[in-house]
Structures are given as structure tokens and as C-alpha cells.
């Protein structure tokens, strides 16, 4: 039986390598969007995939570590409120771990729907609640500004996690052997 909060050696390695890919995508693989100065972060699609495969702890830590390190490299210091929000989003994505059957090679209609509902909930909580509130508490940023930024981020990241995450999960499910795929002649 799968457990949400079990941390095995494999989870640790998945966190380490997942965070490395997250960093790379976060810095270099952004899809420029029609709205100026914003881009779709493909990294959130990746954290959604890893969270679904390895659980909430892996999802949360991958996004947290990846975001913190890439901020540190680019800006010299992490922007803690958004780093924490990334972690929260990744953690919530992880609840798709037990609710989908990707490991058994099945990712169709209902699974896709479930994954996307969880993913949107995660993004809304992280970017519309956690990130703006922490911005106000830690950095005393103006209220209007942070909620507008949060709303844009929630929308963009939901699309990115939805489109890229779903496609990645479909590709992953196709590589797994289906349960009961062998029949006796």
C-alpha cells in the first residue's frame, strides 16, 4: 500500500535529482507568454509529475530546494515567500500520489480530471493565499500588488502544471506495463 509520508532512499534520490531538473527548467526553460514580463514555468509541470510519482514530501521539497537554489544563483538570495509558496504547491500536488494509477500504466479520463483538480487547488492555495500573505508579512509589500501578482502566477502555473504535467504523466503511463495486461491463451 502506498503511504503519503513515507520517505525511502528512493524518495531522497528523487528529491535530489528532481530539484536539480527543477532548477534547470526554472532558469532556462520558460515559455514566453503573450503577457509581457511573465512566462510559463515548465518547472511546475515537472514538480507535478514528481509529486504524483513520489508523494507530497518529494513534491514539496523538490520545488522548495529547486526554487531556493535557482534564486540564490541568479539573485544571490532566495525570495523566501515565493520559495515557500512553491514548496506548498508541490506538496499539495503530491496528493495525486494515491489518487491516480499512473504506476500501473493507467492515466485516463478520471485520473486526468483528479490530477488536474488537485493541481489547481494546490496552485490556488500557494499563489493566491500563501505567497501574497507571506509577501505582506515578511516583506511588507503593498497588498494590491501582491494579490495581482499572485492571481497571474496562479493562472500561469495552473496552465503550466496542467498542460505539461498531464502530458508528462501520459508519457510516463505509456512506459509502464499495464496491470493484468497478460492473458492466458
Amino acid at each position: 500500500m502506498k503511504k503519503y509520508f513515507e520517505v525511502s532512499t528512493k524518495t531522497i534520490v528523487a528529491i535530489g535529482l528532481g530539484a536539480a531538473i527543477f532548477m534547470l527548467l526554472f532558469m532556462f526553460v520558460k515559455v514566453p507568454s503573450p503577457v509581457p514580463e511573465t512566462s510559463f514555468q515548465t518547472a511546475y509541470g515537472l514538480s507535478a509529475l514528481f509529486a504524483t510519482l513520489f508523494g507530497p514530501i518529494a513534491g514539496g521539497l523538490i520545488a522548495f530546494i529547486g526554487h531556493a537554489l535557482s534564486d540564490a544563483i541568479q539573485y544571490g538570495s532566495p525570495w523566501w515567500s515565493w520559495v515557500i509558496a512553491s514548496g506548498v504547491a508541490g506538496f499539495i500536488f503530491g496528493f495525486a500520489y494515491k489518487n491516480t494509477k499512473v504506476d500501473e500504466g493507467e492515466f485516463k479520463g478520471k485520473d486526468i480530471l483528479r490530477f488536474n483538480i488537485i493541481q489547481v487547488i494546490g496552485n490556488v492555495i500557494a499563489w493566491l493565499i500563501v505567497a501574497p500573505l507571506l509577501d505582506i508579512i515578511i516583506y511588507a509589500e503593498p497588498v494590491n500588488l501582491v494579490f495581482t501578482q499572485g492571481a497571474i502566477a496562479a493562472l500561469m502555473n495552473s496552465i503550466s502544471a496542467g498542460v505539461i504535467g498531464t502530458l508528462l504523466l501520459l508519457a510516463y503511463a505509456a512506459t509502464r506495463t499495464k496491470k493484468g495486461s497478460l492473458t492466458k491463451k
Binding site: 536539480a20 530546494i65 529547486g66 544571490g76 538570495s77 516583506y139
Partner: protein
């Protein structure tokens, strides 16, 4: 695309000699001190302090040029956005209103807004050197040991050290895949249509992720075979001993941290320094 991760070089300065644990603790204490306070005098003091340390640790400008450019772009955008969204935010914080310049409509420049925004820019500007010093003077292999030292579970610390260890490998894989796909005619620039940009990004990410998933399997098997995670504690090969210098550094940081809190409570009565009343 060629960002060298932690361009750490071995020089012998008092800062390099400190243990990684000390530097992480000092970095956290000082950043939280600056994040908490909105007193421009205190922030200027920390800024001066961090620039002195930057000088002492002999970091060259060429090492940090790119970061400084990114930070400047960020600071300018943030300042403009703040003014556009909340031109009266300073007034609501300090409770008074001294107009300097009428622009139009609700966009009037006030002394309060100027103070608030200058403080904010300085706040961010004074944290950056601290982060740079920490990143450029700490040996990456010591990083995990220091994380574990400040109380983070060693499994998480180990995951961070795996990230640092495998980032260059993954970066190389990414470049190979991306060049191979571009040689086959994949368009990644703005010339491609918006929808196909998504698809093209995926065509690079998918092989990268699947090769990484295989790698996760073999690394975790290797770690399991060597008995990783069997015990509650773990020792680190690259951990440095705590010496006198470390106590001095931590003492100074704790002092500055305490100053930030005490100034806010006893002198200003809030996080903001208010010269207008």
C-alpha cells in the same frame, strides 16, 4: 546558459576559514534581521557591514556581475510596480502626508512613499551581498554538513547535496538533448507559434526526465546497498571544526539580529522607522 554553480574558489581569507555551519547560521540571522526591520538607519548599517565583509572575502566583481544585473532589473521593476499599484502606500504606513511632486490623478509623489520605497530597495540591496558571500566562500561539499548542523534532518541535507552534485550532469544532458532536437529542426525561439513552443519545450524535457528517472533507480539502489538511512545520525567527511573565529562571527550576527528586534520594539515601536511624527 553557462552558469557555473557556486563558483567557489579556494582563497585563504578569514571568511573562507569559517566553517560552513557558521556562515549558514550568520547568513540566516542577518537576512532575517534585515527582513524584519524597516528602519533605514539600521539597514544602511547592515549594508555597510555586508560590503566590508564582501571586501574582506576578496570576491571579484567579475564573479558577481551577472547576479548584480539580474538584481538591478528586479529592483527597478519592483519599484515601478509598487508605485503604479500603491502610490499612497507610504502615506498609509507613516500616517502623514508631505507632497513633493504632483504627477497626475492619484499618482503624486510623497516623502512617505519615497522613504518607504528607498528603504525597500536598500533592504533588498543589503541582503544580496550576504547571500553572495555565503555562496561563493562555502565549499559545496560542506553545504550539506552545514544544513544538517543547523538542525535540518540529514536525509533532506543529503538530498540537497545530491542536487548540487547532479546539477552539472543534468545541465550537460539538457544541452545535448536540446542540440540534438534543434539539429532535427526544432524551433525554440520566438519565431515559433505560441502553441508549438509548449510542445517543443516538452520534446526536450521528456527525454531529460526519463533518463533521470532511470538514474534515480540506480543511484538509490547503490545507496541502499551501502546502507544509507539505517541509522538516525550521520557524520560528514567535509565538516569543519568550530574555532574561535566562528564564535566571533556568530556572536556578531546574534548581536545584529538582536539589535534589529530591540530597535523595532523599544525605539520605533513598530517595524517602521517614522521620522514624520
Amino acid at each position: 546558459m553557462k552558469i557555473k554553480l557556486f563558483s567557489y574558489n579556494v582563497i585563504d581569507t578569514p571568511i573562507h576559514r569559517l566553517s560552513g555551519l557558521t556562515k549558514l547560521a550568520c547568513f540566516l540571522l542577518l537576512t532575517f534581521a534585515v527582513m524584519f526591520s524597516y528602519d533605514i538607519r539600521f539597514i544602511l548599517f547592515v549594508m555597510l557591514f555586508s560590503f566590508i565583509i564582501l571586501k574582506v572575502s576578496k570576491i571579484k566583481f567579475s564573479q558577481i556581475k551577472l547576479m548584480i544585473i539580474y538584481v538591478l532589473i528586479f529592483l527597478i521593476t519592483n519599484a515601478i510596480l509598487t508605485f503604479l499599484f500603491e502610490p499612497e502606500y507610504g502615506v498609509s504606513i507613516y500616517g502623514t502626508r508631505h507632497e513633493v511632486l504632483r504627477i497626475f490623478g492619484r499618482y503624486n509623489l510623497t516623502q512617505e512613499q519615497l522613504l518607504y520605497q528607498t528603504t525597500k530597495v536598500l533592504k533588498y540591496a543589503s541582503v544580496i551581498p550576504l547571500g553572495i558571500i555565503f555562496l561563493l566562500t562555502t565549499n559545496p561539499s560542506e553545504f550539506a554538513a552545514s544544513l544538517n548542523g543547523v538542525g535540518i534532518p540529514y536525509k533532506v541535507a543529503y538530498a540537497v547535496s545530491l542536487t548540487l552534485r547532479y546539477f552539472p550532469d543534468i545541465q550537460r544532458d539538457y544541452q545535448n538533448i536540446s542540440q540534438a532536437q534543434q539539429a532535427r529542426g526544432l524551433e525554440m525561439s520566438k519565431k515559433a507559434k505560441f502553441g508549438s513552443r509548449f510542445k517543443n519545450a516538452l520534446l526536450i524535457i521528456i527525454p531529460l526526465i526519463f533518463s533521470t528517472l532511470d538514474r534515480i533507480e540506480s543511484i538509490s539502489n547503490a545507496m541502499d546497498l551501502r546502507g544509507f538511512g539505517k541509522l538516525k545520525k550521520r557524520t560528514w567527511y567535509s565538516k569543519k571544526k568550530i574555532e574561535t573565529g566562528d564564535y566571533v562571527a556568530i556572536g556578531l550576527s546574534v548581536l545584529i539580529f538582536a539589535m534589529s528586534i530591540l530597535i523595532s520594539i523599544f525605539i520605533n515601536g513598530s517595524r517602521f522607522f517614522n521620522p514624520f511624527i
